[in-house]
């Protein structure tokens, strides 16, 4: 059964009940559909990371409910029997390479399933499969994960989560700190997992170009609240509103706004450089583009 995730009036307080209680989430209502690619954007400290930890009950709502597939989590849910849930929704945290620890790449990837009770042989087979799926060369599997490049280490960490065979893959800034090629490769891997493995993707990111290129749904967080949700086109249609939350536009949309001031028109507003180029070309005079 495909896993649907629904937040219903979710509040979350850190150190709830103590004098130091801080509210991190306020009245969150949202739905993440199976097979969708949801981007979560918002400033540092807006509640994005707290939000995603509710996706597999690493945190439980202080009030309200989170329904993940057929399980409903609230403040009274016991930590017992949450394992199936954590297998269903895999989270790749920020800088996941810091969590690598095994002697070899293969063992590191196999650690997750073994921890969930999968026999060693089976876990190793699964680990190998996932390593190849994320594009790690077989020659790397016997190496120490610490000998790998940043981008490769991150693939190992993602493979480790995939080895739990989740239905929902949550990634917290998976491309932070990588070079342009590494960023592109990780994002291509994520979309490939969505389309070929039928995974639901939830991506936290500061890269508006990635939101424009890959997401079909966007959740905007600010001060612990979900201040807007919608398609990338709807979210990026209001530059002033985004700016008021110190969020930016995709490069193409930002540049199109400059071109509007120079007399060009766009409908709809372009989100990517290809969309921008397609709309721009018919507005340019002949002598500019006759020559091939």
């Amino acid at each position: 059964m495909a896993t649907d995730i629904t937040f219903n009036e979710v509040d979350y307080w850190y150190q709830a009940g103590s004098p130091y209680a801080v509210q991190a989430l306020r009245d969150i209502n949202l739905n993440i559909k199976p097979g969708s690619f949801t981007a979560v954007i918002g400033q540092t400290g807006s509640g994005k990371s707290t939000l995603i930890q509710h996706l597999n009950a690493l945190l439980k709502p202080s009030s309200g409910t989170v329904t993940i597939g057929d399980r409903t989590i609230d403040a009274t849910t016991k930590n017992k029997h949450l394992k199936p849930l954590r297998k269903k929704v895999g989270i790749v945290f920020q800088f996941p390479e810091n969590q690598l620890f095994e002697e070899t790449v293969l063992k590191d990837i196999a650690f997750g399933p073994q921890n969930f009770g999968v026999p060693t042989d089976e876990a190793m087979t699964l680990a190998k499969k996932m390593a190849l799926l994320v594009g790690l060369d077989e020659s790397l599997l016997k190496r120490s994960p610490f000998d790998l490049s940043g981008g490769q280490m991150r693939r190992v960490a993602i493979a480790g989560v995939l080895a739990l065979e989740p239905e929902v893959l949550v990634l917290d800034e998976p491309t932070a700190g990588l070079d342009p090629r590494g960023r592109l490769e990780i994002m291509q891997l994520v979309t490939q997992l969505q389309s070929e493995q039928d995974l639901t993707i939830v991506l936290i990111t500061h890269q508006m170009d990635d939101v424009a290129n890959y997401a079909d749904h966007v959740i905007v967080m600010a001060h612990g609240e979900m201040v807007k949700q919608g398609t990338p086109r709807a979210i990026f249609s209001d530059a002033d509103w985004l700016e008021s939350y110190q969020l930016g536009l995709p490069s193409a949309t930002r540049f199109a706004n400059q071109l509007i001031k120079a007399g060009f028109t766009f409908d709809p507003m372009p989100l990517t450089e290809d969309e921008l180029a397609d709309q721009l070309l018919p507005q340019l005079s002949k002598e500019g583009h006759d020559h091939g």
């Binding site: 490049s149 090629r181 921008l276 397609d278 005079s285 500019g288």
Partner: protein
């Protein structure tokens, strides 16, 4: 005057068959901000480690501020070089922001009074004086990186090396730290060497030095480097958005200028082409 001179530098890691840095030579002029760009594994961080003598090069000569780097001079040279790394958490030692900034000076036997003056001065420079009694762990990423920078400013280096120092920051944190570094460079007459794959950081530099698979490719001003467009992309590097759009237009049959254009000049150029039918 060249404050950093690198001649025929080579380095090979013991477990590798290929040279991580392969016969690299370049000069860096005092007061310049030079961005060293290259994809992950291109050898840029190895180069930085060689420059401050964290490991000895197998071949080549590094001269910093007139002194040739060797086992004998490495400590004197490090007095002149401050380094800020990617992850400030790995660099913090003090219980408070002020202690942390003072740490570098403690290692250099600076007396207490001077130390306090310099801590205050350095924190003011990065706009973090109000936070001096706070715990570094509780700061935002951008604030942490500014504290790390203050620790370096306090030892009054001539050269500042930034090793992917903005790569863990969100866009706002990155903008803030780059503005701070620019201001400090001008006020303190620093030479800045920033190892980066962030296009905005590279664009902030006076010069860009391109490294690919251990080889020196080119050193020039950002405009000239960015005009290489697709060649940079092939090396796994980023180009400014204006160049990406030019590529997209050119694949659609439009004749585009070969020289680099920033966004402003690209808008101007497109404006002249706009058909007014």
């Amino acid at each position: 005057m060249a404050i950093i001179q690198v001649k025929n530098l080579s380095y090979k890691y013991h477990n590798s068959d290929t040279l991580a840095v392969d016969d690299v030579s370049f000069d860096i002029q005092a007061g310049d901000w030079v961005a060293i760009v290259g994809h992950n594994g291109s050898g840029k961080s190895t180069l930085a480690k060689l420059l401050i003598g964290l490991m000895p090069a197998q071949e080549g000569v590094i001269t910093i501020d007139g002194q040739e780097l060797s086992e004998q001079t490495v400590w004197q040279i490090r007095e002149k070089v401050g380094m800020v790394f990617q992850n400030p958490d790995n660099q913090f030692v003090g219980a408070t922001v002020a202690d942390d900034v003072a740490f570098g000076m403690e290692n250099r036997q600076v007396d207490r009074e001077t130390m306090q003056e310099r801590v205050t001065y350095a924190l003011k420079q990065v706009d973090m004086l109000d936070y001096q009694q706070r715990e570094p762990a509780n700061l935002s990423g951008g604030q942490k990186q500014r504290v790390a920078l203050a620790g370096v400013i306090a030892i009054a280096p001539k050269i500042l090396i930034l090793d992917e120092a903005t790569s863990m920051l969100d866009p706002r944190g990155r903008r803030e730290i780059l503005q701070t570094i620019k201001r400090l460079k001008d006020e303190l007459n620093l030479t800045v060497l920033s190892i980066t794959h962030d296009i905005d950081e590279a664009a902030s530099a006076d010069r860009i030095l391109v490294i690919d698979d251990g080889h020196f490719i080119e050193e020039d001003d950002p405009n000239s480097i960015f005009s290489h467009g697709s060649a940079l992309i092939e090396m796994g590097l980023d180009v400014p958005f204006s160049e990406k759009l030019k590529l997209a237009l050119s694949t659609r049959g439009l004749d585009v200028p070969a020289t680099y254009q920033d966004e402003g000049s690209l808008v101007d150029w497109l404006r002249t082409l706009r058909s007014t039918k």
